[in-house]
């Protein structure tokens, strides 16, 4: 993060209009490619239009493609989406492959503005088996027990420690040995 990210919008992943629940609907509504017929900055765009644009239009029947030649201005593409969003991209001095790449990017987007994602998954059903709590899978007798309880109120006994066992063994040997018997 840097200062340029201070006002970066953040949010959760979503799709417009529950896209993909029944079938997938391409979200790119129309794309306008503006270019110059003579300037060198538009050369890649012109190459793309000559060789690849027809196939692009055929494979994306849901998208309207507009071409807008204009004199002596740098090329750009403007994508408009079904949710009303509009994205502008300057294509100045792009190669043919770059134009293809950015066009694919525009085509596969959903139109939701670029943002920082706070979570990488979204669910409407956060739990199905219930949220765990400390009483999950516990014996139900605890519910009717009255406190202070003879057993439940005691701390958990983990058995004698090694030190305690040693002390016990030592005391036993002390008792067995008559020489060490206390005088009284």
């Amino acid at each position: 993060m840097s200062n340029s990210h201070l006002f970066l919008p953040s949010g959760f992943i979503r799709t417009p209009l529950q896209n993909g629940l029944g079938r997938y609907i391409p979200q790119l509504q129309r794309i306008t490619i503006k270019f110059c017929k003579s300037h060198g900055g538009s050369r890649g765009v012109r190459d793309f239009i000559e060789s690849d644009l027809m196939e692009f239009a055929k494979t994306n029947p849901g998208t309207v493609v507009y071409l807008k030649p204009r004199r002596h201005r740098s090329p750009c593409m403007v994508a408009e989406y079904l949710n009303g969003e509009r994205e502008y991209l300057s294509c100045h001095e792009f190669s043919r492959d770059e134009v293809y790449k950015w066009l694919s990017y525009m085509c596969t987007r959903s139109g939701i503005p670029v943002m920082r994602f706070r979570k990488y998954q979204h669910t409407d059903y956060p739990t199905i088996q219930g949220v765990w709590n400390p009483f999950t899978h516990q014996a139900p007798e605890i519910n009717v027990a009255e406190f202070p309880h003879e057993v439940l109120s005691k701390p958990i006994n983990h058995g004698p420690t090694a030190t305690e066992q040693l002390i016990e063994i030592f005391k036993k040997t002390q008792l067995e040995d008559p020489a060490n018997k206390p005088p009284n």
């Binding site: 340029s4 970066l8 990488y120 979204h122 059903y125 199905i128 088996q129 057993v151 983990h158």
Partner: protein, 231 residues
Amino acid sequence: MALMRSLLSKLSLLQISPKYLRPNGIVNSIFSSRNILQVETNEKYAIRTLRSAAFNNYEGVKLNAAQQTSAQPQQEVLENQHDFELAVTKETITKVNNQIEANSHGRLFAVIHFAGKQRRVTDGDLIMVEGTHPTNVGDIIRAEKVLLVGSRDFTLLGRPLLRPDLVRVEATVVEKSLTHTKTIFRNRRRKNYMRINFCRNHFSILRINCVRLEGLVDQRPEVEGVDGRIF
């Protein structure tokens, strides 16, 4: 403590032989419960309390029981519980299969291993896959590494994966895009080294279309692991 004493006296009344009592007084759970099925509710409650107390390793129970069984030899006879466990397992599987057949298990969730991460998914979820992914938008793909399927009443765990003909998880790719511009700033102090780069990573968003059980539990086909293969 008084409750435990009354319980132990009741146990003697019921003539449960001492072999069901371990030397430390913990009742061998399954067989004791079998013999006591006929007794009234009060005693059932007492038995349950003793069992839960014994499982929780309470000192009070231990002490009391040790007095009762101190005369017994320090041995225990464990019955062969295999048949009983088998019966319980079969009953459980039947119950799960009944739910699957009647489609009464309700909403399912699954834990799938997808693109290097384990994700918990249910119908209608959106998951984000970081990095480049070969699928295109609109493609429907099937998650084949399903580690777990759970419903309200049961959970099926794979070891490590569930059979592909048992569970089906399908997803649609709904978006392929780039993240926001991330700044990568590297600096080594006192070394006159400073680099600043900007990058946008690829990501895909997947919509989970279905988490579905298609087969029955514990009914395996004769030949496994060959679906989708051409010989």
